[in-house]
C-alpha cells in the first residue's frame, strides 16, 4: 500500500512558483486561498533557499488532534482530508499546523471566515469521486485518475516530489549521492517523524 508524502528539495527549487500556479489552475482555487506557496529563506542573500510548502499530510497530524468537530480523516494511502460539511471554520487547525497549511476564504462581510480549505494531495474529499460536488468543494481528484498531485508533476526542476514515500525517498537518496550535498530535508521530520519517541520538552528548557 502506497503511503503518500511530499518532499521538497531546497537545492533544486528555483522559486518559479510553477507548483502554486499548477495547484491554483487544477482546482480553480479562489483568490486569497493558497493551498501551496513558495517560501524563500534568506531572500536576497547569496545561498538563499526556497521551499514549496503546503499540507504535508503528516503521519501524526496535529490538525486532526485539535479539530473540535473531528472533521478530519486519513485515507488508507495516508492522505489527510476533511469534510467541509462539518467544518465550522474555527481556525484551530491553522494554529496547530506547523506548515500554516489550512486556509480560510475571507470573502464575506466583517472578516467572515469560511470553511477551511487545504491541499488534498489531489485526492478530493468524501463526495463521490470526480463528481461536480467534489470538484466544487475540494478540487480535482487526480489520485482517483491514477495521477499524482499536479504541483509535483508540474515541477520543472523536480524539486517537489510527491507520491509513495518509499519511491520518492529513494529518488532523493540517489540524487543526494550523485550530487554529494544537500541531504537536509526541510519539513520531513516535522511531518513524518515520530514525536512520541522523542523526549518531552522540559519546563523552562530551550527547544
Amino acid at each position: 500500500m502506497a503511503r503518500m508524502k511530499f518532499l521538497c528539495d531546497a537545492e533544486r527549487c528555483i522559486e518559479c512558483n510553477g507548483c502554486v500556479t499548477a495547484c491554483k489552475a487544477e482546482h480553480e482555487i479562489p483568490w486569497g486561498v493558497n493551498r501551496r506557496r513558495v517560501v524563500t529563506l534568506n531572500d536576497g542573500v547569496p545561498g538563499e533557499k526556497s521551499i514549496s510548502v503546503a499540507c504535508m499530510h503528516c503521519s501524526d497530524a496535529p490538525c486532526m488532534a485539535v479539530c473540535p468537530v473531528d472533521c478530519f480523516y486519513k485515507t488508507s494511502e495516508g492522505v489527510v482530508l476533511h469534510d467541509k460539511d462539518l467544518c465550522i471554520g474555527c481556525g484551530y487547525c491553522f494554529y496547530a499546523c506547523p506548515f500554516g497549511a489550512p486556509q480560510f476564504p475571507q470573502d464575506g462581510a466583517f472578516g467572515l471566515r469560511g470553511k477551511m480549505d487545504k491541499c488534498t494531495f489531489c485526492a478530493g474529499g468524501p463526495e463521490a469521486d470526480n463528481s461536480e460536488a467534489e470538484f466544487k468543494k475540494y478540487g480535482r481528484n487526480r489520485l482517483a485518475e491514477g495521477k499524482l498531485p499536479a504541483c509535483a508533476e508540474m515541477c520543472a526542476t523536480k524539486a517537489l516530489l510527491g507520491g509513495d514515500a518509499d519511491v520518492i525517498s529513494n529518488i532523493y537518496r540517489d540524487r543526494v549521492t550523485k550530487r554529494g550535498k544537500g541531504a537536509d530535508l526541510w519539513g520531513w521530520d516535522a511531518a513524518y517523524g515520530k514525536p512520541e519517541s522523542k523526549p518531552a520538552a522540559q519546563p523552562g528548557g530551550k527547544s
Binding site: 500500500m1 502506497a2 468537530v69 473531528d70 472533521c71 478530519f72 480523516y73 485515507t75 488508507s76 494511502e77 482530508l81 476533511h82 469534510d83 460539511d85 462539518l86 485526492a123 474529499g125 468524501p126 463526495e127 463521490a128 469521486d129 470526480n130 481528484n141 489520485l143 482517483a144 485518475e145 491514477g146 495521477k147 499524482l148 509535483a152 508533476e153 523536480k158 516530489l161 510527491g162 507520491g163 509513495d164 519511491v167 520518492i168 529518488i171 540517489d174 540524487r175 550523485k178
Partner: protein, 77 residues
C-alpha cells in the same frame, strides 16, 4: 366537503408538514472519531474498476517519471 373545510384541511396538513421540517437530527458525538461522510477508495471507479493492483501500477509509473535519472515517460502515459 365544502370549500372552506377543504381549505382548513389543507392548511392543517401544510402546517403539520412545516412543523415536521423543524426537527433537529439527533447526532451522536464520538470524541476523537471522524464524524463526516465516508470516502471511497481511489480505485473504486470506472477507470480502475475496483482493482487496487492496477491503481498502484499507475501510481508507481507516475512516481518513477519524477526520477530524471531513470525516467520512463512512455509508461506514465
Amino acid at each position: 366537503m365544502t370549500g372552506r373545510n377543504l381549505i382548513a384541511c389543507l392548511a392543517i396538513g401544510a402546517s403539520a408538514l412545516l412543523a415536521a421540517g423543524c426537527g433537529d437530527k439527533p447526532m451522536v458525538y464520538r470524541q476523537g472519531q471522524y464524524q463526516g461522510k465516508p470516502d471511497s477508495k481511489p480505485w473504486d471507479n470506472d477507470r480502475f474498476k475496483g482493482s487496487q493492483v492496477e491503481w498502484e501500477k499507475a501510481i508507481k509509473a507516475r512516481n518513477q517519471s519524477q526520477n530524471e535519472y531513470s525516467r520512463d515517460i512512455a509508461s506514465a502515459r
